[in-house]
Amino acid sequence: MIINPDGTKPIYVQISEWIETEILNESFVQDEKVYSQYQLAEMMNINPATAAKGLTKLVEEEILYKKRGLGMFVASDAKDIILNKRKSNTLTKLVDDVVAEANHLDVSETELISMIQTSMSKLRGEKE
């Protein structure tokens, strides 16, 4: 992963999202230890306090849990929490954008729904 400092997302958010993605990819599995703030700092070339902030965010969201003196570990329902969060945040926002754009282009509701259905069947077709 490459940190984008000019991006509008704070670096600690980029760090926590990266760890989330690695959990979804199963690079880190349940009860496995994740990187420490110092390892992250070294890997990503960032201040260790920023890395710690990214980890703390995940602990607050109960995606990681802390073992005193040992480090941070992946919680048992980490994947579900991440998926639910992404569904409610990312997907809702994307749908809002799609609806706004459809409105802008005078696409009707039925037309939009059928476009989504076409896209879904395309995806299914590719999978088979």
């Binding site: 000019d6 509008t8 704070p10 670096i11 600690y12 201040n47 306090a49």
Partner: protein
């Protein structure tokens, strides 16, 4: 523990106050970026911290005591900038050996390895080095000294892009292994944004804002839309920056906490503001930009 505390710190040169009633406290073992425009008072502030000059008014404590004329402060502080006076009768390698004798935490092995990595010539004299090479050498002195308080004032002047990024990487790695209080001044926040924990914005010789980098990133928000709508919406809000855009539109930056939800009804769009842009708007002199000069 606090590494640096100052209250009402003022330094006057004639009737110009280079540092003016500055109050700040900086915690131990953090990397703080000191950011400000040219002539804002960054270097004077750093010289006061290093104990190179004495304040005209106010108080300053560094590592527990006033730094001016303090042997403790000079043994525990190193101040690196491009006007450092180093003896011209010594070769740069001999200067390293002097550093080794003076600074208790000096790491000679690190100094030598960096020396070789950046292909410095041991028999060179400091005043014969090119601008970039001089900065590189000074940076090696700053890192190898491992001083509890390490101050880099515009350390990358004249360095090429690759040496600059090597320097920041070296600084981070050495800081991870040996945490210490580091002040790093720069015009370019974007270059050091990932490296630092806190930002101290200096404007007109005083502490304009002292926050963490992530808070700076979330400090302001950009709002854009039809000029008239935007103008109306901005009433009663603190505007950091405003500029006209084509097609009767305008862009403004306000405090994030002042973003009331009715911006959507006004047909406005919002976008985050990068820390670099935010620091530029905060340390700027007027709301307008260069375009106002040509009006």
């Amino acid at each position: 523990m606090k590494a640096i505390t100052c209250t009402h710190l003022t330094k006057s040169y004639g009737n110009k106050k280079a540092v003016n009633d500055l109050a700040v406290s900086i915690e131990e073992n953090k990397i703080t970026g000191v950011i400000g425009r040219n002539g804002a008072g960054k270097t004077t502030f750093l010289q006061l911290v290093a104990g190179f000059i004495k304040q005209s008014e106010g108080k300053i404590h560094v590592l527990g005591e006033p730094p001016f004329n303090s042997l403790k402060a000079s043994a525990n502080t190193i101040f690196i900038n491009d006007t450092m006076n180093l003896p011209t009768s010594l070769t740069i390698y001999e200067i390293l050996k002097m550093g080794n004798e003076f600074y208790p935490n000096w790491d000679m092995e690190l100094a030598e390895r960096l020396f070789d990595y950046f292909s410095l010539d041991r028999s060179q004299r400091h005043d014969r080095l090119s601008k970039g090479m001089k900065s590189t050498f000074n940076m090696i002195v700053g890192l190898a000294s491992r001083c509890p308080l390490t101050i880099f004032d515009e350390p990358t002047t004249g360095m090429d892009a690759s040496v600059r990024s090597d320097f920041y990487r070296a600084l981070l790695k050495d800081y991870l292994a040996h945490p210490r209080t580091i002040l790093l001044s720069s015009h370019h926040l974007n270059e050091i944004e990932e490296l630092i924990e806190d930002v101290l914005l200096i404007k007109d010789g005083t502490n304009h804002l002292h926050v963490s980098v992530s808070d700076l990133k979330e400090y302001g928000i950009g709002v854009q839309g039809e000029s008239t709508n935007l103008e109306a919406w901005l009433k009663g809000k603190d505007v950091f920056h405003k500029r006209e855009l084509p097609m009767n539109k305008a862009y403004a930056v306000v405090k994030k906490e002042q973003l009331d939800p009715n911006y959507k009804q006004a047909g406005l769009e919002v976008a985050a503001v990068s820390a670099t842009d935010m620091s530029m708007y905060l340390t700027g002199t007027s709301e307008g930009g260069i375009d106002d000069v040509f009006k």
